[in-house]
C-alpha cells in the first residue's frame, strides 16, 4: 500500500503542477490585444524528427525581445508563446486551440511543417479569423485557394524549383537534369516545378529518384542517379539526406553538379556535416545574407540567447518570418483589429528593408515573396553569390 499511495500522490502532484502552468488569460475586446501587449503564438518542433527546424521558433522569440527593447509597437510589447508540436498534427491542433481559445493570441507567426499547418489552417483562418504570417514551408496550400488571413513569405517550392531548373538549363547550359526528392508533399511540389519547366522547354528529366524520410541507406538511389548520366542533380530533401547522397555519390564515382533547395541553404552546416564535400554545391536562398540586418540580428542573439549553439540560416529564418508581422503591426496603427491588420499587410509593396526581397502583398495575392537567388558553397562553407534575385516567370 505504501508504495502504491506514494505513486498516486506523486502522479497527482505532477498533474496538478502541469495544470497550474497553463493559466488562462481572460480575453479582451480584440483577442490578443491589450493596452500594453500583443499576444503572438507559434508552434515549432523542438523535439522529434524535425527538431532541426526548432531554431526558427526560438529565433523569432529573440526578434520579439529585440523589438520590445526598442520600445515595442505603438507602445505595446509583444508577448510570445512558443509551443512544441514535435511535428505531429494532432499536437499542432491542440496547440492552436490552446493558443487561440485559452491564451487568446492575436496572430500566429511561422509554424514549421506543411501537414502540421494543414491540420490547423481552416481552424485558424476560417473559424477564428486569426492572421497567420509566414507559414514556415513553401507549400502552395497557404495561398491557393486565396485565404484572407494567411500571408506567405516562403517562396513556393514549385516556383523555386522551376527557377533553379531554368537556371541550370539556360544559364549553365546543362541538358541532363535529374531530380532527387523526398517522397512527400515537400519533395513532390519541388518535382512538379522542375517537371513543369522541363516540359515548357520541351525536355524531360533524365531521372526522378524518390527517397523516404526514414531511409538510411542511399546507395541504390545514388546508383540510379549515376545510371541516368545526369549532369545536374537537383536535391529536394532533408539536410541529412542531402549530406548522405553527396557522400554515397562520391563513393561510387558519380560527380555531377548538385543544386539544392533553399531548405538546404546553410553551407556552413552542410560543409561541416559532409566533411567538405558540400563545396561547389549550388543552392537557392531567399534570405538576403548581404543585408546589414544579419549582423544586427546575430548581435541580438548574443544578447538575448547567448547559449544558442546554432545560429545559421535556419535561425535567421526565424527573424525573416517574423519581420513582415511586425511591419504589418506597425502599419496597422494603434487601433488594432485582425481586419485592420490584413488591410495594412496588403499595403506592403516591394519592401526590401528586411531579410527578404521584394515583398508584396495585394488584396488578391498573399504570396509575398516569389524570388530566390543562387549561391554556391565555397571554401570552408563560405557563401559565394552566383546569381541575382531570380523571379518566377513561367515560360508558358
Amino acid at each position: 500500500m505504501k508504495k502504491g499511495s506514494l505513486w498516486v500522490v506523486t502522479m497527482l502532484c505532477v498533474l496538478a503542477v502541469l495544470g497550474m502552468a497553463s493559466v488562462t488569460v481572460a480575453a479582451d475586446k480584440v483577442r490578443g490585444v491589450t493596452d500594453t501587449e500583443i499576444l503572438i503564438g507559434q508552434w515549432g518542433p523542438q523535439t522529434g524528427p524535425a527538431a532541426l527546424w526548432g531554431a526558427v521558433g526560438r529565433a523569432t522569440g529573440v526578434y520579439f525581445q529585440m523589438i520590445n527593447d526598442q520600445g515595442g509597437i505603438h507602445g505595446r510589447k509583444i508577448k510570445y508563446f512558443l509551443r512544441d508540436d514535435a511535428y505531429q498534427p494532432a499536437k499542432t491542433k491542440a496547440i492552436a486551440k490552446e493558443l487561440v481559445e485559452d491564451v487568446g493570441v492575436f496572430a500566429m507567426v511561422g509554424g514549421v511543417g506543411t501537414s502540421c499547418g494543414m491540420a490547423v489552417r481552416d481552424y485558424l483562418t476560417k473559424e477564428n479569423n486569426v492572421p497567420w504570417v509566414s507559414p514556415a514551408s513553401g507549400s502552395s496550400h497557404w495561398t491557393q485557394p486565396f485565404n484572407t488571413f494567411i500571408f506567405s513569405t516562403f517562396p513556393q517550392y514549385f516556383e523555386e524549383s522551376y527557377v533553379l531548373t531554368q537556371y541550370a538549363v539556360e544559364k549553365m547550359g546543362k541538358k541532363k537534369i535529374a531530380f532527387f526528392y523526398q517522397n512527400d508533399d515537400y519533395g513532390k511540389e519541388g518535382l512538379d516545378g522542375a517537371k513543369k519547366y522541363m516540359s515548357d522547354a520541351g525536355m524531360q528529366l533524365v531521372a526522378e529518384v524518390p527517397v523516404e524520410v526514414t531511409d538510411t541507406d542511399l546507395k541504390t538511389h545514388a546508383l540510379k542517379l549515376k545510371e541516368s548520366g545526369a549532369e545536374v542533380v537537383i536535391l529536394w530533401v532533408l539536410p541529412k539526406h542531402g549530406a548522405m547522397i553527396l557522400g554515397v555519390s562520391k563513393a561510387i564515382g558519380f560527380d555531377p553538379q548538385f543544386i539544392a533547395a533553399s531548405t538546404l541553404s546553410d553551407p556552413d552546416l552542410m560543409f561541416t556535416v559532409t566533411k567538405g564535400l558540400w563545396k561547389g554545391v549550388m543552392y537557392g536562398n531567399f534570405v538576403n545574407m548581404d543585408s546589414p540586418l544579419v549582423k544586427k540580428y546575430l548581435e541580438a542573439q548574443k544578447k538575448y540567447a547567448p547559449n544558442e549553439k546554432y545560429t545559421g540560416l535556419f535561425y535567421l529564418a526565424g527573424f525573416y518570418f517574423a519581420e513582415p508581422l511586425v511591419k504589418g503591426l506597425e502599419l496597422a496603427g494603434k487601433d488594432l483589429t485582425p481586419e485592420k491588420f490584413v488591410k495594412a499587410m496588403e499595403q506592403i509593396k516591394d519592401w526590401n528593408d528586411w531579410l527578404g526581397y521584394g515583398c508584396t502583398f495585394t488584396p488578391t495575392d498573399h504570396q509575398g515573396v516569389k524570388s530566390v537567388y543562387i549561391e554556391q558553397c565555397g571554401d570552408n562553407g563560405a557563401r559565394v553569390k552566383v546569381s541575382d534575385w531570380l523571379v518566377y516567370k513561367p515560360k508558358k
Partner: protein, 292 residues
C-alpha cells in the same frame, strides 16, 4: 554487371550494420526473451559519446572508440540494473514497455545534450576511396564495416561456444531455474548480457554514423531493420541473425535497384511476413511447440 556488383556491395555493407544490431537484439532475447526496443538509442547515445570524446576532448578515434565501448558496457549494465531488475513478476509485455520507456529516456537525453543538428562523425578511413575490382567500388569504409562485423560475429560465436561465461548465458536462456540451482548467478548474467549487447550495438552505431551523419534520430530505421533481421533469422540464433541482416540488406538493395525505390524501406517487412507464414520461427530456428 557493375550495377549488380554495386548493389551487392551496398547491400552487404548496410546488411552488416543490420546484422550487428540484430546480434545485439538476439543476445538479450536469448537470455531474457525481451525484444529490446531501446537497442537503437543505446547505440546512438554511445556514438554521441564517441563523438564528444573526439570533438570536445580531442582524443583520437581509436582511443575514443575503445572508451566508448567501455561506456556502452556500463550503459547496458546500468539500464538492466536500474530499469529491468526492479520489475516485480514482470510479463514479457511489461518488459517491452520498460525498454520502450528506456528508449524514450535515452532519446530525450541525447536531444537535450546534443541538440537536433546534424553532426559529422569522422573516421580515420575514407568513405569515398578504396579498391574497385571490375568497376565495382569497395570503399575503405565498406571494408572496415565487413571486417569489424565479421570479427565481432566470430568473437561472439566463440564466446558463446567456448567460454564458461558464454555457456552460463546459454544455460540461463534454456532454463533459468535450473541454471540458478546449478549455482549460476542468473541476475549477474542478465546484467552482463545487456552490457555485451550494448557494446555490439555501439559498434553498429559507430559504423553507421560516418555514412548517415549523427543525430538523435540516426538509429530509428537501422534498429527496426535489425529487429526485422533478427526475426528473419529466428530471434534466438546468432548466425541466423547475422545472415538475416545480410539478407535484408541485399533484398532491400535489389528491390530498390530493380523494382521500386518508394517501397524499398517497407519491402523488408513484406518479405518477412511471407517468410514467417512459411516458417513461423524464422529461417534458422526450429519451430518450438510449447508443451503443456
Amino acid at each position: 554487371m557493375s550495377l549488380v556488383g554495386d548493389l551487392i556491395i551496398g547491400g552487404l555493407s548496410i546488411g552488416a550494420c543490420y546484422a550487428l544490431v540484430a546480434l545485439a537484439m538476439v543476445i538479450i532475447y536469448k537470455t531474457s526473451e525481451v525484444p529490446n526496443f531501446a537497442q537503437g538509442e543505446m547505440a546512438m547515445i554511445s556514438t554521441f559519446v564517441a563523438y564528444t570524446m573526439m570533438e570536445s576532448y580531442g582524443l583520437g578515434f581509436w582511443t575514443s572508440g575503445a572508451l566508448t565501448l567501455l561506456f556502452a558496457l556500463g550503459l547496458g549494465a546500468v539500464l538492466e540494473i536500474s530499469f529491468l531488475r526492479p520489475a516485480k513478476n514482470p510479463t514479457i509485455l511489461s518488459l517491452i514497455v520498460i525498454t520502450l520507456g528506456a528508449e524514450m529516456i535515452l532519446y530525450g537525453l541525447a536531444g537535450w545534450r546534443w541538440g537536433a543538428m546534424q553532426l559529422p562523425f569522422a573516421v580515420p578511413f575514407s568513405e569515398y576511396s578504396g579498391i574497385s575490382p571490375g568497376g565495382v567500388m569497395i570503399t575503405e569504409m565498406n571494408m572496415w564495416t565487413f571486417a569489424v562485423s565479421i570479427v565481432l560475429m566470430a568473437f561472439l560465436f566463440l564466446f558463446f561456444r567456448f567460454t564458461t561465461l558464454g555457456t552460463a548465458m546459454k544455460a540461463v536462456q534454456q532454463n533459468p531455474f535450473a541454471a540458478k540451482a546449478m549455482g549460476i548467478p542468473t541476475r549477474r548474467i542478465l546484467t552482463f548480457t545487456w552490457a555485451l549487447s550494448s557494446v555490439t550495438g555501439a559498434v553498429a552505431g559507430m559504423l553507421i554514423a560516418p555514412v548517415s551523419t549523427l543525430d538523435p534520430n540516426m538509429m530509428l530505421d537501422p534498429m527496426l531493420k535489425g529487429f526485422a533481421a533478427a526475426v528473419l533469422g529466428g530471434m534466438t540464433s546468432l548466425p541466423g541473425a547475422a545472415i538475416g541482416g545480410y539478407l535484408l540488406g541485399l533484398i532491400e538493395n535489389f528491390f530498390g535497384g530493380y523494382v521500386s525505390l518508394e517501397f524499398k524501406s517497407v519491402v523488408a517487412f513484406g518479405v518477412i511476413v511471407v517468410i514467417l507464414c512459411v516458417r513461423p520461427s524464422g529461417l534458422f530456428v526450429r519451430h518450438y511447440v510449447k508443451k503443456v
